[in-house]
């Protein structure tokens, strides 16, 4: 009788991460484009509202966060779209481990590939927007805590729209309203830091969002994928 060896969830988790990083490393432009988009949008603001350091510094938290949200929408689709097209998504649902594990791995990979570069160029964005230096650290912290929420919530949206031809615009319509609380508290934290008030409250809330979204999202993503893959 044929007997299959059990597989540990951790091994599958590692394998998915490894494979996706490898895949991404062979199509680097996909990763680079949202990043360049982010830089360009942030550059547009001083050109649009004038280069006065006062006004730039005042709107900087909002501008940087809104741009980050928009640019993340650009790259979100690749979370499941390619896998859906070539059938790897189907195979992912057929792995001998809970689907939530694989979904979580996909979210982690997406975060590593899209958010980490943003975190790296954050000082540059802050510099371009004349953000007062005392708020740089808090801006970076809000991005560090907030980007996992983007990846997790984004995964839900992509899971629901991945089988649609015209999913792109729909994805933003579904996701952006859900991400408003994140935007509000993130900008509030940075603004608090600008005026020298403790940003601990909003930061804690963003942290709570992060925990909530990465624990609950895999379940919603699983349900969404089951709908899309059939």
């Amino acid at each position: 009788m044929l007997q299959a060896n059990p597989v540990s969830a951790w091994k599958v988790f590692k394998q998915i991460i490894q494979r996706d990083i490898r895949v991404a490393s062979r199509q680097r432009s996909d990763l680079l484009n949202p990043l360049i988009f982010l830089l360009i949008v942030v550059t547009l603001f001083p050109l649009g509202v004038g280069p006065g350091p006062d006004i730039l510094g005042r709107i900087a938290p909002g501008v940087i966060w809104v741009s980050a949200l928009l640019s993340s929408m650009l790259g979100l689709e690749r979370l499941f779209r390619d896998d859906f097209r070539d059938g790897a998504l189907e195979q992912m649902l057929l792995l001998p481990v809970p689907v939530e594990i694989s979904v979580f791995a996909k979210i982690v990979v997406h975060w590593l590939l899209t958010a980490v570069p943003v975190l790296v160029i954050t000082p540059l964005l802050a510099l371009l927007m004349n953000l007062p230096i005392q708020a740089w650290g808090v801006l970076w912290l809000t991005l560090l805590l907030g980007t996992p929420v983007l990846s997790a919530a984004g995964a839900i949206g992509v899971a629901l729209t991945v089988s649609l031809n015209k999913g792109g615009a729909l994805l933003s319509l579904l996701l952006l309203p859900l991400l408003i609380p994140l935007l509000i508290f993130a900008t509030a934290a940075v603004e608090a830091a600008v005026v020298g008030v403790s940003p601990a409250g909003p930061l804690a809330l963003i942290g709570a969002f992060m925990v909530l979204s990465i624990t609950l999202a895999p379940f919603a993503v699983k349900a969404g994928l089951r709908v899309s893959v059939n």
């Binding site: 009788m1 044929l2 299959a4 059990p6 062979r26 070539d86 059938g87 792995l95």
Partner: protein, 215 residues
Amino acid sequence: MSDKVAVPVLLEANELMSIRGERTLFSDLQLRVQAGEIWQIEGPNGAGKSSLLRILAGLLPAQAGSVSFQQQLISEDREAYYQNLLFIGHKAGVKPELTAIENLEFYAAVQGVELKETPYELLAKVGLVGLEDIPAQGLSAGQQRRIALARLWLTQASLWILDEPFTALDVEGIALLHARFAEHLKAGGAIILTSHQELITEFYQVQALRLRYQH
């Protein structure tokens, strides 16, 4: 192995019904797949062959009925079922950015198969010699299909569900596949597949399930 009289039932489907859109594909469908059996799902296009395979694999919910694997409802213990299932669908799940070897190594690892060495020999066997470390997107459709089918040699799953495994294969490839099927059946495995061609082979007896197109 000792008791040859009672052949274990691997997969059992009861009163399955599937509706796509407004059309009933099939209803009250019964299927019992025992170890050592190969089943071919026949029927015209649109009769629901692929849907049936996907229902059996647990990818698509049936409107009614149940599927159990080794007397266990598959919806209740998916992980145990998927440990023993190899499903290769219409889209084979080969990542075009990865090489044949990388693709195979990934699937072997997540299915719990230990690879003792890089599967050059296997890839040579399926006709991909010299193409082992080129990203799959540079290969032809048939060659990509072969990468997916090479998984048949790297699995311990007892049940295989294959959607049109023979498409884009040449005569040699088909013969190779038949040989592998025979080997699997002899080892106590079972296969469910769809195919446009008649399965004529001296290696094994094919059971057929015919789906009619219903308006």
